[in-house]
């Protein structure tokens, strides 16, 4: 059956309008098509105006039909508009091509560095803190009493000369201050000002008048001190073994303890580490000196040697840094050469932790 009458005209009109929408090549053409169809004077609007003159039953049927046409046309307009807009955007974007191969800059977090000695100090603190050591500090400028006398090196002791000590001019009372030759001064300060039990490490700068490839007039030491009632050399040995394993990040480290002599410890030992176990050439590497705190030192600090005993050790912070990270020349530590600092320095993100590992 073929449609006829007003409805048949409507069908033809719809086909015509939909064709004009499809044919619209750009947004302007589409707008023209929209105005021609459903604008105030559009063809579909004109059809709708006819409704007013119709009889009610005729109006009902025609109204329904013309509204359906309008809805379909409106939808077609929207679809076509979306397609044209997408095409226009694509065409615009196609002209916005960037050279994605251009380099971007390193951020400040990439350029900054932590000095190797600071990094290694943080590593040491992490390890010793786990064993219950806190970090004690003392001044660089010291008295002879703290640097020597209280450490069982009385005035005429030859070791005083061996230290190549830097002195200041005598003060009004005739006493001469000096630059501490070792961090053992912090042992003294700790024992004078605190009651045992004591567990401290004391890192810091020390000074000796010496200068060649392996000696600089200023360097860093880290001191350890444990004073309780029943601490013996076995504890000392354990602490050093545990420290060495943790610090060098190896499962096992070969260590050799040799009898030695220091005025402030008795018995005294020097400690070597098996070079192979930390991946270095050679047989043994001397890393530190240590011993049981000399009874005279305890007495000098007001502690009863009959009641308290304990151990002390001291090692070169720069030295263990050089060993662990393969740094050849001590002097470079203090030359602030950017090339060296960038090469041997550490990222600020590399915060040593026991859980995450000391180094990466």
């Amino acid at each position: 059956m073929t449609a006829s009458g007003p409805t048949a005209d409507l069908n033809a009109l719809e086909q015509d309008v939909l064709a004009s929408i499809t044919e619209a090549g750009d947004l302007t053409a589409l707008e023209n098509a929209r105005v021609a169809a459903i604008g105030k004077k559009g063809r579909i609007s004109a059809e709708m105006q006819k409704l007013g003159a119709m009889k009610p039953e005729e109006r009902k049927a025609f109204g329904k039909a013309v509204n359906a046409v309008k809805a379909r046309v409106t939808k077609a307009l929207d679809t076509r508009k979306g397609a044209l807009e997408a095409a226009a955007l694509a065409e615009k974007l196609a002209t916005e091509r960037a050279d994605v191969s251009l380099p971007v800059r390193d951020g400040p977090e990439t350029r900054g560095r932590i000095h190797p000695v600071s990094q290694v100090l943080d590593e040491c603190i992490e390890i010793f803190a786990d064993m219950g050591f806190s970090v004690a500090e003392g001044p660089d400028i010291e008295s002879q009493d703290t640097n020597f006398t209280k450490l069982n090196m009385p005035e005429d002791h030859p070791a005083r000369q061996d230290h190549d000590t830097f002195y200041f001019a005598p003060g009004l009372d005739g006493s001469r201050q000096l630059l501490r030759t070792h961090t053992s001064t912090v042992q003294i300060r700790t024992m004078l000002n605190n009651e045992p039990p004591l567990r401290i490490i004391a890192p810091g700068r020390v000074y000796r008048g010496d200068s060649d490839q392996t000696h600089t007039p200023m360097f860093h030491q880290i001191e350890g001190l444990v004073i309780e009632e029943k601490i013996h050399m076995g504890h000392l040995k354990w602490v050093l073994e545990e420290f060495s394993k943790a610090f060098f990040e190896v499962d096992d480290v070969e260590m050799r303890f040799r009898a030695s002599h220091f005025p402030f410890t008795e018995p005294s030992m020097e400690v070597d580490i098996g070079a192979g176990t930390i991946g270095k050439p050679g047989d043994w590497l001397e890393v530190l000196g240590c011993g049981m705190v000399h009874p005279n030192v305890l007495k000098n600090c007001g502690l009863d040697p009959e009641r308290y005993q304990g151990f002390a050790f001291g090692m070169g912070l720069d030295r263990i840094t050089m060993l662990k990270y393969g740094i050849p020349d001590l002097r470079a530590f203090f030359s602030a050469d950017l090339r060296w600092l960038r090469h041997y320095g550490f990222s600020m993100l590399n915060t040593p932790t026991l859980g995450g590992g000391l180094s990466r």
């Binding site: 786990d130 001044p139 400028i141 002195y167 354990w238 008795e266 530590f333 950017l338």
Partner: protein, 811 residues
């Protein structure tokens, strides 16, 4: 201290391998520094005979010789250039493959003018046994019985030389016998009995007087001086075995008399001296030197003496320095017929002081400054007499002694349980006693109450801890059981102090801003210290290692600027460095300050220095330094906005482009700014530099919080409103004054103020004015803001700014 294996075996009956000896020496505190084993270097050189020699067909100076190393076996054909090579010569042969140290060559089979040479006949110099190179070694005929044997065995050179480091507390181990005693105690053998001496004491008193001439204050310098004369000596060379040992330990043989003193010094740690008695004027005495005196020493140098030095003198004046060095003029020679032997005891501390003052390092000083066994004065004299009589003949006199041997006897009350208490090693009382006895101690008492008498050669043993050390080092430190330190907390507690934490945070935050951490010297040149308001007398080193490292630094900035200069010289114009370290304002503990300081040079801003396609390089300025400073302060828990910024930074900053951060009038937290052009010139810096320094000790402690919970977030659902205001103010008005005034307008409503533009050019410049534009954020809390309310705040802001700065809204 050097000795040879055979020398050690004079005192120690042992069969243990050398390796074990070396390991034990190091373990018990006699650290082996080196071992030279001639068997390793010269073991391949053998005694050999040339059986036939004929001329080389193509070379006038060469011969072709047949060398026999095993009688009856085929010979080696060798091309030899030595003029003394001849049939029948017994010499030393090196086969192919031998390393010849004197010419630094390993022998390979090769043709010499067409004839293949199968080894080499050697000279002494090729073996580095002497400097002589007069042809090849030519041994006496009786050496024929040694053909085929290693040459070093035949001449007694197959004797490893061991060098051990002796710690300052062990005078006894400056003699071979002391080392042997330690090794015997450690179970490596037995100490042989003392040498049986022939009769050494003569009948006549010596014709030369010996005296001590000290006052009460100086008599400790030399408490005993013993001497003996031997007349009719023939002072020829000492025997080969003695010369070989002395050479092996690095001494040059001189003559029998001198060699005996050196030998006894090394054998027993007992230095002696010999005088040609005929050269002495009057008696010999020990006394303190006098200013103005001097003498010619054995080393050929003349030394001035003074009142702090102990000298040995005769009527003509000082002959030598007691305990350090003898004199040339009274020394023995081949012509000496009468010798005076000196055996004395010099004070360790005075000997050390004299040694330092003169710079002399001698075998005598090495021993006396450690403390020679005072009881060895007479036995040492007798031993020396014994050897002199044996090697040079003659007739001894009686010994004469001035002064008395100091009494150094000591007895220590010792509980053997102390060993385990202090060392953790369980050693039975029996073993404790055995070890101490082996070291020369005498013990009485029993159980926990032992009385241990210390031998005279151990001045270093004072108390129970020393005895524990003796026992433990001999038992072996490897026996000390590693024992876990008791754990204080299940999970380790934080240990860092607030300043330590702040230092760590400052370090990481500064590095995160692109600054590179450096460590510079604590001492700087005096002129630089003065430039940075330091350099006081009490902070100057009395004995600096160089003028560049002479004065304790008053600031970290000089070290940083100096480092920037060095880096600029290496081609790094744009650099940013920081340091966390100490500065010094006095020589007391309170005068040491903990500082974080940084400096940026050239265009090294936060985004990085140098040119980049995205951003043009901008020179660093004070705001770069201020931003670093603010970040560091913030990391350390302090908001810079809560501090005051004043315009009184120190003189090394640009006066107009620097500031001081403070909390109140007294508490200075930091300085920052562009470095003063004069300061930059002092360091020859290229381009602008901005620096800051933070006084970490001056930061207020962080407030203790009751818990870790953070306060509730007061976020409002109501939209904030932003309004812009541009004020024209005098050019000298601080932005902070304007901001604080604006804030005051409505503290509740104003949530943020941001400076978004500062303009100082154009007409404004002519009027000495500037425009500061701010964006004010108003955050309503209860209801949406009505225009009226906004207007009221705006008016209040304008009024407050006007009141505080005289500024007006820009038209």
């Amino acid at each position: 201290m050097k000795f040879t294996l055979s020398w050690l075996k004079d005192h120690l009956e042992t069969e243990v391998p050398v390796e074990t000896l070396l390991t034990t020496l190091s373990a018990i505190g006699l650290e082996v520094e080196s071992v030279e084993d001639p068997a390793e270097t010269l073991g391949a050189f053998v005694v050999a005979r040339i059986t036939e020699a004929k001329p080389h067909p193509d070379a006038d100076r060469l011969q072709i010789v047949q060398v026999e190393t095993t009688p009856g076996k085929p010979t080696h054909e060798v091309v030899c250039g030595a003029p003394n090579a001849r049939a029948g010569l017994i010499g030393v042969f090196a086969p192919i493959g031998t390393y010849v140290p004197g010419i630094d060559v390993t022998l390979v089979k090769r043709a010499v003018r067409g004839v293949t040479s199968n080894g080499m006949m050697c000279s002494d110099s090729e073996l580095q046994l002497s400097d002589e190179a007069d042809g090849i070694i030519d041994l006496p005929a009786e050496m024929a019985k040694h053909i085929g044997e290693p040459y070093i065995n035949v001449i007694g050179l197959n004797d490893p030389v061991i060098d051990v480091a002796i710690t300052p507390n062990r005078p006894d181990c400056t003699g071979v016998r002391g080392i042997a005693r330690d090794l015997a105690a450690a179970g490596l053998g037995t100490l042989k009995p003392e040498l049986k001496l022939g009769p050494v004491e003569g009948k006549k008193a010596p014709s030369i007087d010996i005296a001590l001439k000290f006052d009460t204050e100086t008599k400790d310098a030399c408490q005993v001086f013993a001497g003996r004369m031997v007349t009719g000596v023939k002072n020829t060379a000492s025997p080969d075995w003695m010369q070989a040992r002395l050479r092996a330990v690095g001494l040059r043989p001189i003559n029998a008399l001198v060699d005996v003193t050196n030998y006894v010094a090394h054998d027993r740690g007992r230095p002696l001296h010999v005088y040609d008695a005929d050269k002495l004027k009057g008696g010999v005495h020990a006394r303190m030197g006098k200013k103005g005196e001097s003498f010619l020493a054995l080393d050929g140098n003349t030394y001035d003496v003074d009142g702090a030095m102990c000298v040995i003198a005769d009527d003509s004046g000082p002959l030598g320095l007691g305990g350090v060095i003898g004199g040339e003029l009274s020394g023995t020679t081949e012509d000496t017929e009468t010798v005076l032997i000196e055996s004395a005891w010099f004070s360790p501390t005075r000997t050390a002081a004299t040694g330092r003052a003169t710079g002399l390092i001698t075998d005598a000083r090495y021993r006396f400054e450690r403390g020679v066994d005072p009881a060895s004065v007479m036995p040492g004299l007798d031993l020396a007499t014994h050897w002199i009589l044996e090697l040079a003949g003659g007739t001894p006199s009686k010994a004469t002694v001035a002064g008395t041997v100091p009494d150094t006897s000591k007895t220590i009350a010792f509980n053997p349980n102390r060993v385990e208490q202090l060392s953790g090693v369980a050693v039975s009382a029996k073993d404790v006693k055995t070890i101490l006895k082996a070291l020369g101690c005498k013990i009485d008492g029993k159980g926990e109450k032992l009385n241990v008498s210390i031998p005279s050669w151990r001045p270093d043993i004072h108390g129970p801890a020393d005895l524990v050390e003796e026992v433990v080092r001999i038992v072996g430190l490897d026996k000390v059981p590693a024992t876990p330190l008791p754990r204080i907390h299940g999970v380790a507690q934080p240990v860092l102090t607030e300043n330590q934490k702040r230092t760590r945070l400052a370090r990481r935050i500064l590095a995160s801003r692109g600054l590179v951490e450096c460590v510079t010297w604590s001492f700087i040149p005096q002129n630089e210290a003065e430039h940075f308001a330091g350099g006081q007398d009490n902070l100057q080193l009395a004995n600096p290692i160089s003028v560049d490292l002479s004065t304790m630094r008053p600031s970290l900035v000089p070290g940083l600027l100096s480092a920037l200069h060095r880096n600029q010289n290496r081609g790094f114009q744009d650099a940013a460095l920081f340091e966390l370290g100490q500065t010094y304002s006095s020589a007391e503990a309170a005068g040491q300050h903990l500082i974080a300081s940084g400096a940026r040079a050239g265009s090294e801003t936060l985004v990085g220095g140098g040119r980049d396609w995205q951003a043009t390089a901008r020179p660093v300025d004070l705001f770069d330094a201020k931003a670093d400073l603010a970040a560091a302060l913030s990391a350390m828990g302090l908001d810079i906005e809560k501090a005051q910024i004043t315009r009184d930074a120190p003189s090394w900053y640009h006066p107009g482009r620097s500031g001081t951060v403070r909390l109140g009038p007294k508490r200075i937290l930091a300085h920052f700014g562009e470095v003063h052009p004069a300061t930059a010139a002092l360091y020859e810096l290229d381009g602008p530099v901005a620096a800051f320094e933070i006084f970490i000790n001056n930061l207020p402690p962080e407030k203790k919080k009751a818990g870790r919970a953070k306060p509730a977030l007061p976020a409002s659902d109501l939209l904030p409103v932003r309004r812009d205001f541009a004020f024209v103010v005098d050019a000298t008005v601080d932005a902070s004054t304007l901001l604080r005034a604006a804030e005051k307008a409505d503290k509740k409503l104003i949530s943020n103020i941001n400076v978004f533009d500062v303009f100082e050019g154009g007409d404004l410049a002519a009027e000495n004015k500037k425009s500061v534009a701010i964006e004010v954020t108003l955050q309503p809390h209860d209801e949406t803001l009505k225009d009226k309310a906004i207007e009221a705040v705006s008016e209040a802001i304008i009024a407050q700014v006007k009141k505080a700065t005289g500024g007006v809204i820009r038209g």
